[in-house]
């Protein structure tokens, strides 16, 4: 690539990054500005008032607790389901597999509102009223699909021979799964649990229709934004941004340290390339969308 177009290219990426990050700076900055309307410009003066107000908001705390409860429930439901479905589909082939796979990924491609409404209607028929339990079930219906995809991807690298070897050595089926299959799947199950947790926290559309009278954080923020805005929401946003940033930078730091250790230990070129490959593959984690 010629240097001129390369220069333009870098400039574009720079502008793109600004575009991604500036809104967060504006939003976070407004949390510290002593202005009744959330804004950073004009800058009125520094204040921590909005944080104080946020922490005194009992409804926010209740919503926070609800969110965490739902997220835990979603993890508990969707991780076993996703793992079981992945193991199941990994052992079948042909048309059955295609149909099952289609059914399993369909919830990912279904708008969250549709999932929410159908869950509400279905359970209502059996006299189950709306509430956080329905939110958890509705969310689990599509979050299980993410777990399934993660576990399925991990299963691709699983050598079936290991199961057979264990069976051949006298292990029963439970022992095979507990000692051989599950340990191989732990990374995917961990990632699946994390994704399920954060997906659940993020969720708005499905929750909106199934929550009944309960609040989750997203619903709380939503109603706050609609009913007269104060920068307390910005305070919440700033906390989230900082927490996210700290977690991400920690993982990046840990990854670099691990990579360094690998390179240091590697005495052959092959291992260095391997270490580099690990580094390159790192950002490939997919971030599934919220419904």
């Amino acid at each position: 690539m010629r240097s001129r177009s390369n220069w333009l290219f870098h400039l574009y990426i720079f502008i793109f990054l600004l575009y991604m990050l500036l809104p967060l700076v504006v939003m976070g900055g407004a949390a510290l500005n002593d202005s009744r309307f959330p804004s950073v410009y004009p800058w009125v003066g520094f204040t921590s008032q909005w944080f104080v107000e946020l922490f005194q908001d009992a409804r926010m705390w209740q919503a926070f607790v609800n969110t965490i409860l739902v997220a835990i429930a979603v993890v508990i439901i969707s991780v076993p389901i996703g793992a079981a479905a992945a193991i199941l589909i990994n052992s079948i082939a042909g048309t059955t597999r295609t149909v099952l796979y289609g059914l399993m990924v369909a919830p990912i491609l279904t708008p969250g509102a549709v999932i929410g409404i159908s869950t509400l209607l279905f359970w209502n028929e059996f006299g189950v009223p709306a509430g956080l339990h329905l939110s958890a079930l509705g969310q689990a219906s599509y979050i299980s699909a993410f777990v399934m995809l993660l576990v399925l991807a991990r299963l691709q690298s699983f050598d079936r021979g290991l199961e057979e070897a264990a069976l051949d050595l006298g292990a029963n089926y439970n022992q095979v799964v507990r000692r051989i299959l599950l340990p191989h799947l732990y990374p995917a199950l961990g990632a699946g649990a994390a994704i399920a947790f954060f997906q659940s926290i993020e969720n708005f559309n499905t929750t909106l229709f199934t929550r009944g009278t309960y609040d989750t954080l997203t619903v709380y923020v939503f109603s706050k934004v609609r009913s007269g805005i104060t920068p307390t929401i910005n305070a919440l946003a700033l906390i989230l941004i900082v927490v996210t940033l700290v977690i991400m930078l920690y993982f990046e730091w840990a990854r670099r340290r691990k990579e360094k250790a690998l390179v240091a230990r590697a005495d052959t070129k092959e291992q260095i390339t391997k270490a580099e490959a690990i580094g390159r593959n790192q950002p490939q984690v997919t971030f599934p969308p919220t419904q």
Binding site: D159, G161, L162, E164, A165, A166, L167, D168, L169, G170, A171, N172, Q175, R179, I180, P183, H184
Partner: protein, 367 residues
């Protein structure tokens, strides 16, 4: 503790494809028995049926006289060594070896002691706590063997376990496997496509092709007295002539080819009506300046000579252009014919065999 394995009319179908066709074998306790054949001949299917991962479509498998029908792999007295070894990558060496004891509920001390003992047996000291990824190819091999031995199987099943190793190590491991077998006296059933491995290690060999067992015999007999064209050409090299049996006389026959008539031993199931070929090993063939009296002779032209140290291969062509090889031991005083010179390729009737084309996928080899 070692047991015999009997296969009676065992067949295995995958849909319309018959992977194994009516196999009948009786493997004796403590025997080192090999199934030899090209890939896709059904040898691995046999192994998987014996270990219990595939159910036979028909027939019966008995281990130590006991019918194995309906007995799952984890209940059979067999231990399988996988082609890729299938060592558990997330467990250290000693846990791998003692896994079979672990699932039987043995205490940690017992398992650890057994693992150490077996590691000594396979010559791997001080590796108990290593990770599998830290081992070399040969070391992994030994761990796999130790892991299989740990469950004290009556029958060890080995699925081409040496194929991933380089030549040197492979030869070394051959001797090692053989020694371990002699020491433990466990019945070994060994699967390979490498004739050298099969001949060198086994007490008996079954040669397979297209799902059928072609011959079961000692290595010497497989090599010296193959029962059909497939066995002859899969095990070892041959000079091959296509032709017709014209007369038969007490185990000998006259065989008419496009380069003349020969006398040779008559293989089983051959008569005047079968399409047959005459096989003679290069080491039983010799080159002479003049036709030999009382032996078969064909006029040939020397085309090439390859010197391989202990052996010398002389390549020649008869008048039809057929490629023939003569192998001579290098005893230090061999005089080699000039390339392009006219010679006679001679062989004795007793060393040549006329065999049917049975078992061959493509009978058109090297005419």
């Amino acid at each position: 503790m070692s047991a015999g394995v009997d296969l009676q009319n065992v067949s295995c179908d995958f849909g319309k494809f018959r992977a194994v066709d009516k196999a009948n074998v009786s493997i004796k306790p403590g025997e080192f028995f090999s199934f030899l054949g090209p890939s896709g001949c059904g040898k691995t299917t046999i192994l998987r049926m014996v270990s219990g991962f595939i159910d036979p479509s028909e027939g019966q498998i008995r281990i130590g006289g006991q019918d194995m029908n309906g007995i799952r792999p984890n209940k059979r007295p067999t231990a399988l060594i996988f082609q890729n070894l299938a060592l558990f990558p997330l467990m250290p060496v000693w846990e791998n070896i003692s896994f079979g004891l672990e699932v039987r509920g043995a205490s940690k001390d017992v398992r650890r002691a057994k693992a150490e003992e077996l590691l000594k047996l396979v010559d791997l000291h001080d590796s108990a706590d290593k990770a599998i990824s830290q081992l070399s190819g040969g070391q992994k091999q030994r761990v796999a063997i130790a892991r299989a031995l740990a469950v004290e199987p009556s029958v060890m099943l080995l699925d081409e376990p040496l194929s991933a190793l380089d030549l040197k190590l492979r030869q070394h491991m051959r001797a090692e496997l053989r020694a371990i077998q002699k020491r433990t006296k466990v019945t070994f059933i060994y699967i390979t496509h490498d004739q050298g491995e099969a001949l060198a290690m086994s007490d008996r060999v079954a040669v397979m092709s297209q799902g059928k067992i072609q011959q079961i015999s000692t290595p010497q007999e497989i090599y010296n007295a193959p029962v059909n064209g497939f066995v002859a050409s899969f095990v070892g090299e041959n000079n091959i002539f296509k032709g017709k049996v014209t007369s038969i006389d007490s185990g000998r026959c006259s065989f008419e080819t496009d380069v003349g008539a020969f006398t040779a031993a008559l293989g089983p199931a051959v008569d005047a009506s079968t399409i047959a070929r005459l096989y003679v090993r290069p080491e039983y063939s010799r080159l002479q300046a003049a036709p030999a009296g009382g032996a078969n002779s064909i006029p040939v032209t020397v085309t090439d000579i390859s010197f391989e140290g202990n052996f010398i291969h002389v390549h020649a062509a008869d008048r039809t252009g057929r490629h023939l090889t003569v192998e001579t031991r290098n005893d230090g005083s061999v005089t080699l014919p000039a390339i392009g010179s006219a010679q006679y390729l001679c062989f004795d009737a007793a060393t040549a065999r006329v065999l049917a084309d049975q078992g061959m996928k493509d009978p058109g080899i090297d005419e």
